[in-house]
């Protein structure tokens, strides 16, 4: 086990097996230990990438095209770090969240939760290091099934129905993706992304149609408007740590695959109109998600709709990669999008965890019931506020930097209309975050009894929120890491200042 790749795959899956088989109350602690271990492995991989450039790994010693190769560049490393960091904190949180031993059902919940949770982590890791079209399909499928099971864990008609919607949408999406993969295999005869990238060039229709299938499938999984309808209830009905991870990471995983294929593999096959269309759907998602978030009465639904909106931002980077001439803005757009992915992962994780804390304490999560939150749960309020800042993209959050870069790209590539969308999105997200924050500031009558909240829950969300803030205070190193193996260069020679 001399390679970080091995640990990244081995640890969570082994943990899943062990926690499933072994009874005992130590399960959640073991999960925590393994998520921390995975973080260490991700750190190891990131430092290898940082020092030596992109890393490859041939599973079973079989090189592509016959075998499956793993690959990690700066992008993978950053997302792996994000994944294990968010999941570590969410695991901390779940120590408190599932500690209700008195209630038998929740203990069952916790028992089912831990192995599924570790499988989810393993499949995310597998996905972020995969360089094989079909392996990506299997990883996505693992992710989906684990996600559905975790949503359904909450029990009750709402969660079951939400899980069902999620499963149906994701199942269809997987098949669309696989259809695309079949066509691509028919065209190129290989599955390895790097080999396809060598062979791919614009021109024939088959790869373009194949890509349309692939992107459609992944778009559904990433909840791109108008394929987002499954998301809000699925993310809102799940247990809090699950909601956090679904919104923070699982949706991003599908987007990550789109990004890889679009930018690294098929850059020449996708056309400018397709990019504009992706951007337009993203913009529609921003507006629609934000409007829905403004209308919802339940806290977790607001946060879930906001995910639809925030995913929209990610798709704005595709039109920004187009444009006339050579310029550093392509890196700005690409890196801005990736940074938004990360920052949003932490912020949304924090928000869902905080929302879960409120639900835990108050017994419901109506926004109107949040009154007096500053007094009852001050730390949760603070994490709420900080995560809200990151969601709106105000400084000093990582999303601010992301927004800065995206705006730079819009202006340098002379596509001002996307700047308008970004601006409108900022104001709308400000509006729905404001709704929540102002509800927290309303003093008013407090509920008679509040269930005491384990401290670990409050601090887990606070640390996540602070991390999203920290990303805004120090972006130099993440960007340096991101540039390792990046498809674009930070500075294009001879252009810019």
């Amino acid at each position: 086990m001399s390679s970080p790749f091995e640990w990244l795959i081995f640890l969570p899956f082994a943990g899943g097996v062990i926690t499933f088989l072994l009874p005992g109350k130590s399960r959640p602690w073991l999960a925590l230990l393994l998520t921390v271990g995975t973080f260490a492995a991700a750190w190891w991989l990131a430092s290898d990438v940082w020092r030596e450039g992109p890393q490859g790994y041939a599973l079973g010693g079989w090189e592509a095209p016959l075998g499956i190769n793993l690959y990690a560049d700066g992008l993978s490393a950053l997302l792996l770090l994000t994944t294990s960091a968010v999941m570590t904190l969410a695991s901390f949180y779940s120590l408190g969240y599932f500690s209700r031993e008195a209630e038998a059902s929740s203990w069952t919940e916790a028992r089912a939760f831990v192995p599924l949770w570790l499988f989810l982590l393993g499949s995310l890791n597998a996905l972020f290091v995969s360089r094989d079209l079909f392996n990506l399909y299997v990883a996505l499928e693992l992710l989906t099934i684990a996600g559905v099971a975790l949503v359904a864990l909450a029990g009750g008609a709402t969660a079951l129905r939400a899980g069902m919607r999620y499963l149906l949408a994701a199942f269809l999406a997987s098949l669309l993706y696989l259809m695309g993969v079949a066509l691509l295999y028919g065209e190129f005869g290989v599955l390895d992304l790097a080999l396809i990238a060598e062979a791919a060039e614009g021109g024939t229709r088959a790869p373009v149609i194949a890509l349309a299938f692939v992107f459609l499938g992944l778009g559904i999984k990433a909840a791109l408007f108008p394929f987002h309808a499954w998301l809000p209830h699925a993310h809102a009905s799940a247990p809090a740590p699950v909601s956090a991870v679904l919104s923070a990471l699982v949706v991003k995983a599908a987007f990550y695959v789109i990004l890889r294929l679009w930018v690294d593999v098929f850059a020449d096959s996708v056309t400018a109109p397709a990019a504009q269309a992706a951007g337009a759907l993203g913009a529609a998602g921003i507006l629609w998600g934000s409007f829905q978030a403004l209308r919802e009465q339940r806290l977790k639904l607001v946060v879930a709709h906001s995910t639809v909106a925030q995913v929209g931002y990610l798709f704005l980077l595709f039109p920004l990669l187009t444009g006339v001439g050579e310029g550093a803005w392509r890196f700005d757009a690409w890196a801005g999008g990736v940074y938004h992915m990360m920052s949003h992962a932490f912020a949304k994780g924090a928000l869902f965890l905080a929302a879960g804390t409120i639900l835990y304490a108050y017994g419901n999560d109506q926004i109107s019931a949040m009154r007096g939150l500053t007094r009852t749960l001050p730390i949760t309020t603070v994490s709420f506020g900080i995560a809200g800042i990151a969601l709106v993209g105000l400084p000093p959050s990582g999303s601010f930097i992301a927004k800065w870069m995206l705006l730079t790209a819009t202006i340098e590539s002379a596509q001002w209309w996307w700047a308008v969308v970004i601006g409108a999105g900022t104001l709308l997200s400000g509006a729905y975050v404001y709704r929540l924050v102002s509800a927290a500031f309303t003093p008013d009558t407090l509920p008679e009894s509040i269930r005491p909240v384990p401290r670990v829950m409050e601090y887990a969300s606070l640390i996540l929120a602070l991390t999203s803030l920290g990303l805004g205070l120090r972006a130099a190193e993440p960007f340096d890491l991101l540039e390792v193996g990046a498809p674009f260069s930070m500075i294009v020679a001879g252009v810019g200042t």
Binding site: V138, L160, R165, L178, Y185, H233
Partner: protein, 103 residues
């Protein structure tokens, strides 16, 4: 029309049929059936592609992919049916409400 083209065309047709069924039928079990038909279409295309490239044997990689795909499909189907069953227990219907808010 070669064998490859015939079955590839069948794949296209099955895909459309399954998709239509998935969209139109409200009953969860039937939606799952629709998805299974779409799955069959995808597998058919893969195997047809493998058939096109055969020496001593047909291309084994798509075959392996389809085997994997079949197992994945049966997994998702079983999970979906278990969910559908539980939904029926909880709500008395095996459909999802038309609009999301009604719950």
């Amino acid at each position: 029309m070669s064998t490859f083209e015939l079955y590839a065309a069948l794949a296209a047709v099955l895909f459309a049929v399954g998709l239509y069924g998935f969209f139109v039928r409200q009953e969860l079990v039937r939606k799952v059936v629709g998805l299974n038909i779409i799955g069959a279409a995808v597998f058919l295309l893969l195997i047809a592609i493998a058939y096109r490239n055969r020496g001593d044997f047909a291309d084994p990689v798509p075959h392996a992919m389809v085997l994997t795909g079949i197992v994945v499909a049966v997994s998702a189907t079983a999970l979906a049916l278990a969910l559908a069953r539980r939904i029926e227990d909880e709500t008395g219907t095996r459909r999802l409400p038309e609009d999301e808010e009604s719950s």
